[in-house]
Point group: C2
Chain length 309, copies 2
DNA sequence: ATTACTCATAAACCCAGCTTATGTCGCCAT
DNA sequence: ATGGCGACATAAGCTGGGTTTATGAGTAAT
């Protein structure tokens, strides 16, 4: 069926999944890189040596690049293979974060550590913490519930969660807290936007009177911004997730105000540029919270200690 | 075969690839999130609606979490689904970087822009640049060759490359250059290490007399460190790739000296901690280079302009 | 030479995901 | 109300990529 139209060959054909090897193959490549042997890597992943051999070969065919130098006494990465392996590692690391997060979403019932966290924290910080926790306490089953500050407080107070994380300006009553990190909201635009070429920092008043891409009212981010500007933030569009705001900003729809955490990668890749602002307090604390008096112990304490640094 | 021993169920069974949906499924999920419709997402990816439906369903089964709320007039993400989608986006973005990099490694011949870059730059910076370039000039075929400064210079001077990137202390003769970014070498250890709890910055002399995890002699990183310490860096082990050094450091083998670029993620995830150092100049410039006189034009100029910010 | 590694090849199998063909539900316009 | 149109679900059959088992072939060290 799909032979007729794409007779030109595979350079830029099909979707991402067709051009990028699947996770199994990438894991295998990492194992080969580490162990210096196809057979060894196969053993580690619990498959047979011919399976590994064939899989690496088909990955090389797919990419059009030789990845490993085979010899009768082992396999070593090609120069190109080393580069590909490093890029592959990023994918696998993202997959590990996904995995640990998804597991926490599922466990729900019988978990020893029940965490409630705000969206931004759950999205950007928690997977890393959970990976670290798994590394030092492999058998701690964690469950995660994401929601705004109010929800986090409710779950803690009704003993549905052992430890919470919030990002608001105030700590809900009935909870003790400790600051674990700082976050700043920053103004970002697509690289083409006029603001991206500004010399002088933006004035608060300019920011207040310019229509912005914003999260809906009620989100932690929006609260902080409204407070900083005196309730004056003017929406160009209101979107329902950080991600939607980012996407709109990247596509040039206008300037957006987002957590530093959320746009780190986009800034590094220059899909967005940061616009300096002066005269506005856009910093906010990220806090771990727990019911007043009930200092975290056991697994909750372990996790908490990972989040401070 | 593998049924007998793992009758406990899927909580933490199998390898990563068994617990994480494949790229196709993740792309599909992102499309569903964006379009608010299974059928629409299916159309966008060039598959049929039942295929999309079944794939999302099996992803939900695999993760043990409901991801989308289906209704006769569209599909919307669950709360958990929104979180999963955000984590999925990270994987897909890493895959895009992989893809654009791998394509550049292959093209070789008929490409309009031939780039030669040092390992660190090719590893961490180039994929982002290439994605940005593809976004604004979709039909620029790029080929990439990675090697040390000497190799980059050779390729430029023999007209095998149009634009180069180097990270050494000096610019090879015969080349013009412009600084595009700054990098620092930093001292890192696993979180457990004694140095990770230091109050006062490390003295250069302490660093020089402590055995370190290092790249082999001849690497750009090693050169800068040796120069900064006066040729005195003392190896605990010499490893052949940045990655190997990182892995050793993470596993607690000892302190390592690595590019800031290389350890950004590990620091963010607290798999490594940075140890402040004083009295040593560990900064270095990253430069774009080209044959003296031949100012970059066309695609090379496009790429160059993306790298400055 | 024998042994012990390595990787490659060949044939048979199995399952995940695809398509085509249909069914069901809710909304909207006539 | 009643078609019609959108959405998603279900069922049956096909295909291909990845697997295993079983072998072959090269190198190195004993």
């Amino acid at each position: 069926m799909s032979n007729a139209e794409e007779q030109t060959g595979p350079p830029t054909a099909g979707t991402l999944a067709h051009r990028v090897p699947d996770l199994g193959a990438l894991e295998l490549l990492l194992a080969v890189a580490r162990l210096g042997s196809l057979g060894g890597a196969a053993r580690e992943l619990g498959i047979t040596q011919p399976a590994a051999s064939s899989r690496i070969r088909s990955m090389e065919r797919q990419l059009g690049v030789a990845l490993v130098d085979r010899s009768p006494r082992g396999s070593k990465l090609t120069d190109a293979g080393a580069l590909v392996t490093d890029w592959a590692r990023r994918i696998v690391e993202a997959a590990e974060a996904f995995d640990v997060g998804a597991q926490a979403l599922r466990d729900r019932r019988d978990s020893r550590l029940r965490v409630a966290a705000s969206m931004t924290i759950a999205e950007y910080l928690l997977p890393g913490w959970l990976l670290a926790l798994r590394a030092q306490r492999p058998d701690t089953a964690v469950s995660l519930h994401a929601g705004n500050s109010t929800v986090v407080a409710e779950r803690l107070l009704s003993d549905e969660a052992d430890l919470g994380f919030v990002e608001g300006l105030t700590v809900p009553t009935g909870l003790d807290s400790v600051v674990i990190a700082h976050d700043r909201l920053i103004v970002v635009t697509a690289p083409g936007h006029a603001w991206s070429r500004r010399r002088r920092p933006l004035e608060a008043s300019e920011l207040a009177k310019t229509p912005l891409l914003l999260r809906e009212k009620g989100s932690g981010t929006r609260q902080v911004l409204d407070a900083a500007l005196g309730g004056l933030a003017r929406p160009l569009i209101e979107l329902s997730s950080t991600t939607a705001v980012k996407a709109a900003a990247v596509s040039g729809a206008g300037p957006a105000v987002l957590s530093e955490l959320a746009v780190g990668e986009e800034l590094a890749m220059r899909r967005l540029v940061s616009v300096p602002v002066e005269g506005v307090a856009l910093a906010r604390d990220l806090r771990a919270v727990w019911p007043t008096g009930h200092r975290p112990t056991g697994p909750a304490r372990d996790l908490l200690s990972l989040t401070r640094g």
